[in-house]
Symmetry: C2
Subunit: 253 residues, 2 copies
């Protein structure tokens, strides 16, 4: 059994708690949360601490907090020479304080509070300073996921930026679609199979092959009709810029 202490109570922390609690190889020794109540529906109350001074010894400390807080939290761990990792896609391994052995345990998925996640298909990107520490992280990651990758800090940054495009920005485009449907009294439901199919296509086609639509066809009439139809300036601007980007596909502007 690998003993893990988790620090954090946000979306990532909560989904990790659920995944670790199911794993036969992991003992979730303790979780640090600023407010005990946040986690009481997930965990025995005696496993939650609100005081860094009370942290128990463990094989691995996982810091799942906002990027800005990682360095400060890593300093507050009251031990030396322990394996301490963060879960951030964007922070370097060196954000962690030097007093402990450093690593990264980055689950590349979008976590929402009200939506369960099947962790077995969540890619986990690992980084460590030496082979022994990497092996520990690999055992932990493999105990909750089938998709484990060794990824450097630079590669992780590229992945995180890409993830913002394919997930956060994509979801925002769903929201714009939702707003346009609402404005014209059309059920957004009608678009859901299209959203699924657009994502499904990427399993078998590369995005360039999968591209369709008026911008791809260079169908100026439809593009102009759409721009005339959209009443919101922000939506209009996004429509123009993404259309242009598709039309200029491949060229560096």
């Amino acid at each position: 059994m690998i003993k893990i202490t988790l620090i954090g109570s946000g979306n990532v922390a909560q989904h990790l708690i659920k995944a670790f609690e199911k794993s036969a190889f992991i003992e979730l020794t303790e979780v640090f949360s600023r407010k005990k109540e946040t986690l009481e529906n997930l965990l025995d109350s005696n496993k939650i601490t609100t005081d860094f001074a009370n942290l128990k010894e463990a094989d691995l400390y996982i810091i799942a907090v906002t990027d800005d807080a990682i360095n400060d939290v890593s300093k507050q761990i009251p031990f030396r020479d322990k394996l301490v990792v963060h879960t951030s896609g964007t922070s370097s391994i060196d954000t962690l304080d030097n007093k402990n052995r450093k690593g990264v345990f980055y689950p590349l998925q979008t976590f929402s509070k009200n939506k369960a996640v099947d962790f077995s298909v969540v890619p986990i990107c690992l980084e460590a300073e030496n082979k022994d520490d990497y092996n520990i992280l690999e055992i932990v990651a493999s105990s909750i996921s089938n998709e484990v990758f060794e990824i450097s800090s630079k590669q992780r940054k590229a992945l995180h930026v890409s993830a913002v495009f394919v997930s956060n920005f994509t979801n925002h485009l769903y929201q714009i679609g939702h707003e346009i449907c609402n404005e014209h009294q059309v059920p957004f439901e009608i678009l859901k199979p299209l959203i699924q199919e657009t994502a499904d296509k990427i399993k078998t086609l590369n995005p360039n092959e999968a591209q369709t639509g008026p911008a791809k066809r260079n169908d100026i009439g439809t593009i102009e009709a759409h721009l005339a139809f959209i009443t919101n300036d922000n939506q209009k601007n996004i429509y123009k810029i993404l259309t242009q980007s598709i039309q200029n596909n491949g060229k560096k502007l």
Copy 2:
């Protein structure tokens, strides 16, 4: 059996041919294609014509061609008072020539040549000038799909604009993610579960609830780090505009 003549040989036409050929209620009498070869792998050669003058009588004529060509094609149909529909999301019902009864048969899905589509879950948006014609379209649509909707020309325009955002533009964001991964030698595969989950979340959460990421959290440090990391000016511009749009969410700019 409802007799259908299809005019067109592009993605939509080809997927409709496959769907109609499977239906027990539809007899696909004839398909018009400018080049016979385009459809010979889908259809008996004697069912394909390249000459409008040869078109046989049918209960329904479906024009599945580019928007610009709909009006011209509708004029070339050598009959009067037949039910003639187009499959466009963006053209009005009045794009069709007046000599025949007009309608719209718009399957709201993204069709790629190399990817099969399960038509039973494709929403089909119908419009007709009278109840009898609507009933014919409804029988045809219901014979290939479980999702049939009566949608006016104005509503269809809103749906089509929304579809461009949630599908064409989304796919372009996948492509940008793909480019960034390639540039930094990271396998794009790692992002595929995230792409699926982002689409899956929309089944149960509305897009506003589902929104995550640095823009939503207003995490300026990460946003600035990402902008510094992105080398392509076009990608950088799209990152900025979509981030700002998420930050200003709900406000009309």
